[in-house]
């Protein structure tokens, strides 16, 4: 899939549309969101005034849990401990931070590069540890996306906003005045047309 297969900025003001297009490109590049947004459609009417931003997302990998990159087992039989054996070291730093936060530094030992011992009740904690979320690339991307759209792209004066956000799409309607239902309907229509294009591609 190519990045930004559809990128349309519609506005009665042609110059404004062109500058807004550059602006969106700049923001997406700044926050490295180019690969996240698949299709993008924006409508601006400064006279109304309304700003509608709709996009289809391609979020990529889901959350990474401890069991995805490590073997979690009971430690020595006579001790209350859990043994974590890392298969990949890529997330070791974040994992340690999470463990420190949860169990305290004094309860974590790392006798070997790839082995971490956690002093805790293994029966209770074993499953919790296996499912421990180490990294949430999706959430992090979402945060950046909201930063980009809500804080940088939408004109600052447009304080009245309605948004819809999911893992597959994002929709923002913003204005200076009370939002009109037809704007929201238009936003949904735009989103639908993007979905249509996605299906036909």
């Amino acid at each position: 899939m190519e990045q930004l297969e559809t990128f349309i900025v519609e506005s009665p003001d042609a110059v404004g549309a062109k500058t807004t297009r550059t602006l969106i490109q700049d923001v997406l590049a700044d926050l490295s969101l180019n690969r996240v947004i698949g299709r993008l459609k924006v409508f601006v009417d400064p006279v109304e005034p309304v700003f509608i931003f709709t996009a289809l997302l391609r979020l990529g990998t889901p959350a990474i849990r401890l069991k995805d990159f490590a073997k979690v087992d009971m430690g020595a039989i006579d001790k209350d401990e859990v043994k974590i054996e890392l298969i990949r070291e890529a997330h070791a730093v974040k994992l340690l931070n999470k463990l420190w936060e949860r169990y305290g530094k004094e309860n974590i030992e790392q006798p070997d590069k790839k082995i971490i011992m956690v002093k805790t009740d293994p029966i209770k904690e074993l499953d919790v540890l296996r499912e421990l979320v180490i990294e949430e690339p999706q959430q992090e991307v979402m945060d950046r996306l909201i930063d980009a759209v809500a804080l940088r792209i939408i004109p600052e004066g447009f304080r009245v906003r309605k948004h819809e956000l999911s893992t597959s799409h994002i929709m923002f309607v913003a204005s200076e005045d009370t939002l009109k239902p037809e704007w929201i309907a238009k936003a949904r229509e735009m989103l639908e047309s993007l979905r249509e294009a996605e299906k036909n591609a």
Binding site: G16, V44, P49
Partner: protein, 303 residues
């Protein structure tokens, strides 16, 4: 503006002083030096010859000796850092002192407001540059209300190419700006900035012509020189440009309460004191002091 090496640059400064000119600002950056100076127009050749001997370069900086406010609707990502800083920085390169003003509630075309404090602060400058956005309708609507009470010339920037007549209350307009969220470094963008400097230069030239009809009783560089010689504390001021020149006065970065009497009583060799040729007032910027030269029509003489 002189750009050259540090070596022997004091020769140039001495020459400027001998010719009766003023050195306004000297910036030494490692082995380079940039000097902003005022030189009598008839003596330019002598300065140019000296600069050539020192392997430096003299250029005309049309905005020298002016203080310009660059005003953004707010200090948010929408305007900073790129566009605002680019404009401020560029005008600084052309010799102006720029101050950036971010309004508290300057956003929106219907809801924009400016407080009395902001208005007074902007009025202390020689000129205000309002950096606005992408849409023609918004720029025009906003201009109807935002500039109320601003007495200094207003230069507006925005994306569309508009005529000045279309924008209410504005003195000049420069297009091709808009809300740009990248560093302006392409050649056409630099040309746009050049155009802005040119337009501002033109506006300021008009103001100078107006001023010349009733000239200030004392030239601002003279105020600066006398303060530097008679108020020791200014040397210890760590503010950038402790005495900022304006077209008919200066901003002195010393607390008004402590220093206004000392400033008012500065002696000129012609036998007058500062308070006879200028008004010393508190500035809206921090606790600084503002000096405004009185016009000749009020004093009856020019020194």
């Amino acid at each position: 503006m002189y750009e050259g090496g540090v070596y022997k640059h004091n020769h140039l400064i001495e020459l400027v002083e001998d010719l009766g000119g003023y050195v306004l600002q000297k910036n030494i950056m490692q082995t380079d030096v940039v000097i902003l100076m005022l030189v009598p127009i008839n003596d330019m050749e002598i300065i140019e010859a000296k600069a050539k001997a020192l392997l430096g370069k003299v250029t005309r900086a049309p905005l020298t000796g002016t203080e310009i406010a660059t005003v953004a609707p707010t200090l948010a990502y929408h305007h900073l850092p790129h566009l605002d800083c680019d404009v401020a920085e560029f005008l600084r390169k052309k010799g102006a002192k720029t101050n950036m003003v971010g309004l508290a509630r300057g956003v929106g075309k219907r809801i924009c407001q400016m407080t009395a404090y902001e208005r007074d602060l902007i009025n202390e400058h020689d000129l205000a540059v309002f950096i606005l956005g992408n849409y023609e309708h918004c720029i025009i609507e906003k201009s109807k209300r935002l500039y109320e009470g601003i007495e200094v010339p207003i230069v507006v920037t925005g994306a569309p190419e508009l005529k000045v007549e279309d924008i209410p209350n504005a003195t000049a307009y420069v297009g091709s700006f808009g809300r740009i969220l990248h560093h302006m470094r392409h050649s056409e963008e630099l040309r746009t900035l050049d155009k802005l400097a040119e337009v501002i230069g033109g506006v300021l030239d008009n103001v100078r012509k107006e001023l010349a009809k009733d000239p200030p009783a004392v030239a601002p560089p003279r105020i600066k020189k006398e303060i530097e010689e008679q108020v020791q504390e200014i040397i210890d001021s760590l503010h950038p440009l402790p005495i900022t020149l304006q077209m008919n006065g200066a901003r002195v970065k010393l607390p008004y309460n402590e220093f206004h009497e000392q400033l008012e009583n500065i002696q000129f060799v012609e036998g007058v004191t500062m308070k006879e040729v200028a008004r010393v007032m508190p500035s809206k910027m921090r606790n600084f002091t503002l000096i405004r030269a009185l016009p000749k029509s009020e004093t009856g003489f020019v020194i």
